[in-house]
Every structure is written in structure tokens, then in C-alpha cells.
């Protein structure tokens, strides 16, 4: 069960496809002109990602290694076609505003990337949760960008007016350059936050639970890469020693 949860968290936070892996930039830039478009695109991709991950995981022992990419494409394309017809039938407004980007989900690198790096090596259950996690991560990313662009570019969120009447929308944000500005700002902010967290990990502020295994460790930033239990203990000892040293000779402080 822990592994399932870890898959979800990995997709949504630690390896968020939009903000960390920087995958699927084409739909990210093109369709996020409003929050609803971002949400729609994200959910559409999520559905396809879950289905294709499950299907590819189920077929992973059947698909020959040499032709795996064409095989993945066939699977993904079938699901995209199904979803496209469903959207056209039931949500025509979303279908119209997403336009060419729905068929282009076939070549979305998140879907192919998950198929290649996860679904083809793991069981159906985990692949499904990997799909849910990555898909929701993508949805969160797209919706966040969409919200910022819509708020500043047309003064509303999900079509509801948020800015005062006197606010003049900065039209450039709902045009192509705006996507780059907003994405860059969000990534910059989250990298800064992430960096603080990593610094905290290095300082030992976030504790390592290696004794219980990395899988259940609550510290998602480390995952056994940044430090080991021994290194934490050593660092703490060194810090303690330094503090004691300072207390002994306060004159040497400066």
C-alpha cells in the first residue's frame, strides 16, 4: 500500500511532470489560456494515461522489445481516439477549445515516458496509480498555469470575474509569450522552495528515517539520495561539537 501512495505523491509533487520533469510542454503552453482549458486538458490526459499505463502494463510480457514504441503508440492512439469521440459527444465546448491538442495527446511525452519507464516494468495496480499520480500532477500544473494566465490576462478564474472593474487585463498573458512568463515564474518559485527544503535536509533539520527504510520515510525530498543515516548522525555530532566548542571559548567567535 505504501508503494501505491508513493506513486501518487511522486507524480503530483516530487516528480511533477510539468514543473519538475518539464515534460509535455507543448500542450502546457498552448491550451492553458484559461483555467478550465488547463483542467480539461489535464483530466483528458489523465484518463488516457491511466488507461494506457494499465494496458501497456498488462501487455508488458507480450510486447516484443524491438517494436515496443510502435506498440505503445498504437495503444495510446486507440485510447485517444475513444476519448476524443467521448469529448466531442458530451463536452463539445471543451472539444472545440482544445482542438488539435486532443489528437496530439498520442505523442505526449508524459504518456510515452511513463509507458517506457514505468508501466512496461511494473504490475497493473502500480501502473494505474502511477498514471493517476502523473496525470493529476499534470492537471495540477496545467490548472495552476491556467489560473494565473486567466486571472491576469482576462481578470477572471474559471470564468468568474475576480479582479475589480478598473483592472485592465494584461492581454499578453493569454497569448503565447504569457505561457512562458507564467511557467517560468512558477518554476522559479517552486525551485526556490525546493532548494530551501534540500538545504534543510542537508542541515539535518528534516530528519532521516532510514532505519524504517526509504520507502516509508516522510522526507520526500531525499529518497536516499541526499544522505544516509550515518551521515546524518555524523553531521549532527559535528554540529554539536562545534556548538560546544563555541560555548567553551566565546572569544574566538569573531
Amino acid at each position: 500500500m505504501n508503494k501505491t501512495w508513493e506513486r501518487l505523491k511522486c507524480g503530483m509533487v516530487t516528480e511533477n511532470p510539468t514543473f519538475v520533469q518539464m515534460l509535455g510542454m507543448c500542450p502546457t503552453m498552448a491550451v492553458t489560456t484559461s483555467a478550465i482549458n488547463g483542467l480539461g486538458m489535464g483530466l483528458t490526459t489523465t484518463v488516457i494515461l491511466i488507461l494506457s499505463n494499465m494496458m501497456i502494463s498488462a501487455l508488458r510480457k507480450v510486447i516484443p522489445d524491438k517494436v515496443r514504441i510502435p506498440a505503445y503508440i498504437v495503444v495510446v492512439a486507440s485510447f485517444v481516439t475513444i476519448v476524443q469521440f467521448l469529448l466531442e459527444g458530451f463536452v463539445p465546448s471543451l472539444y472545440d477549445s482544445l482542438g488539435i491538442y486532443i489528437p496530439l495527446i498520442v505523442v505526449n511525452c508524459i504518456i510515452l515516458g511513463r509507458a517506457e519507464s514505468y508501466a512496461s516494468k511494473n504490475n497493473i495496480w502500480l501502473s494505474m496509480f502511477d498514471g493517476i499520480g502523473m496525470g493529476l500532477g499534470f492537471t495540477v500544473g496545467l490548472t495552476a498555469i491556467g489560473i494565473f494566465r486567466e486571472l491576469f490576462g482576462s481578470g477572471s478564474i474559471f470564468g468568474l470575474r475576480f479582479m475589480p472593474k478598473s483592472y485592465e487585463p494584461v492581454t499578453i498573458l493569454i497569448l503565447a509569450p504569457g505561457a512562458f512568463f507564467v511557467l517560468a515564474c512558477i518554476v522559479a518559485v517552486q525551485n526556490k522552495v525546493r532548494k530551501y527544503k534540500e538545504d534543510d535536509v542537508k542541515k539535518g533539520v528534516l530528519f532521516c528515517e532510514k532505519e524504517n527504510g526509504c520507502e516509508v520515510c516522510t522526507n520526500g525530498m531525499c529518497k536516499g539520495k541526499l544522505f544516509t543515516a550515518e551521515s546524518v548522525a555524523r553531521e549532527k555530532e559535528e554540529a554539536d561539537n562545534a556548538r560546544k566548542e563555541k560555548q567553551k571559548n566565546p572569544s574566538e567567535k569573531m
Binding site: E168, V170, T171, I172, L173, L175, P177, F181
Partner: protein, 314 residues
Amino acid sequence: MEQTMKISSSPHIRDKETTANIMGQVIVALMPATIFGIYNFGIKAFITILITVISCVVFEACYQKNMGQKVTVKDLSAVLTGLLLALNLPPDVPFWLPVLGSFFAIIVVKQLFGGLGQNFMNPALGARCFLLISFTGRMTAFTYDAVTTATPLASLKAGESVDVMSMFLGTTAGTIGETSAVALLIGGLFLLATGIINYRIPVFYLGSFAVFILLYGLAQGRGIDISFLMAHLFGGGLMLGAFFMATDYVTSPITPNGRILFGILLGVLTFLFRIFGGSAEGVSYAIIIGNLLVPLIERITVPKAFGKGAVKHE
């Protein structure tokens, strides 16, 4: 002996000229156009210029202070950016518009890319294009003598006749600093005379643009249409762009042939944007696209080092 053995990396010859000195001279060269703009559009233009310059300086100082860098406001580059941006704005803009433009010019285009000398496009023009795309209505609403009028270029595009003499003197509608061709020419000649800018970019820019306008006139069967040519040369931001924007040290090529190529490229782009583009003006877009191509232009125009390039006899 110690002196002669000193080893250091290039440059080995240093000039006494400082950044502040060069920026100061460019600002002096812009004064005729600025003063004429204030005379032409009144106190509003003066307030717009003041707001833009002050906010540019404040943004630069704040950013550098917060990032723990040395505050280099004294080199006047922020003042120049502010002045150029203000001269590119219509006189009747609300006060927040120049502030937003200054933010974009200084923070986004200049400082985020590393500050003076590192920006990949002219900050003032980047900000102008940002504002032009975002607030098209406000940026193209020109008033003259309290009456909303089209700029001469817009009238020209609509096929109306324009008064070339008033365009030369500057008593027309337009942005604060672009209207008076004669004031800008005085400033440009001052910069050429003091050696701050090289003749290559403005001459080849204006020259190639003029050639293409004449060819266009011929292609349309009007013969050599001098008044059309003059109207295009004196109209819009061409003079301001050619002498003050395209020659920006940071965003123009440093090789002599590169400057010629850059000038011709700008001329062609401006011609295409003005004649075939959707809006009447095309100088700012032409220059920022040219700015983006500068690294390529420099790469293909690197001069041969002395002794290199001869045919080898074997």
C-alpha cells in the same frame, strides 16, 4: 623589467571612457527630441517621462539591493532605458502603464538575464512591445492638440496624403519622442560626431529601408515616389530606432560587417512590417527580432585574424 613582464588577459588597452560617460552622452543626444516632445505634447509628456525614468531607476536599485549585488544606478543605463521607453509611449497614458513597462524592461529583460551587458534584447523596446501587445488600445491612442488623430504613418497606410514638412519638424501625433525627425537627426549626428555610435548601423538601416520603399513604389507603378519615401523615413519610430535603439552596444553586433548586415536586416524587416504587416509601425518589432539574430550575425562575420585564411602552398 617588472613592467614589461606583466602578463594579463586581454583587453590590454583601456579607454578612459566610462559607462556613465557614454550613457550620459546618449541622454544628451536625446535631449532635443525630449524637449521637443514636451513642447509638442505639454506637461503630460513631461510627467510620463519623469515617471518612467524614476521607476526604471528605482526598480534597478531595488533589484540589485535585494539580490545582494552592487547597486549600479550611477552608470545611468537605467535612466537611459527609462528615457527611451518614455519616448516610445504615447503622451496620454495612465501613470501605471510606464511603471509596468519599466518593471518589464528592467527586471524581466535586463536584470533577470544578468544586468547591463547581458540582456539579449533592448530593454526599452522589449517593454514597448510588451505594452503594445498587452494594451493595444492605450498604446495606439494618439492625441494631438487634445484631438484624437491617427499618426501620419497610419494615415499613409490608409492611403491618405500626409504633410511631410510637419513630419520632419514633428508637429504631428505620435509617441512622445518619435515625431520630430529633425530633433532626432540632431541627436544622431551628435552621437556620430562624438564617436559614440558607428555610422554603419543607421546608414545601412535607413539606406536599405529607403531602397526597398523606392522599389515598392516602382513595383506599384508610381515611379520614384520621393514624398512617399520621405514620409516613411520621417514617420514613426524609424529615426529614433535607427540612431538610438538599433545602435545599443549590448544588443548590436560588434563586427564591422556584422553591423552592415544587421542594418540591412533591420531595413528589410521594417519595410516588410510597415508595408505588408497588420499595423502601421514596424520598427520596434524589427529591432527586437534583429537583436535576437545578433549572435548568429556575429558568428558569420568574425574577421579573419592577421595571417589566417591564406591558401596553403604545399
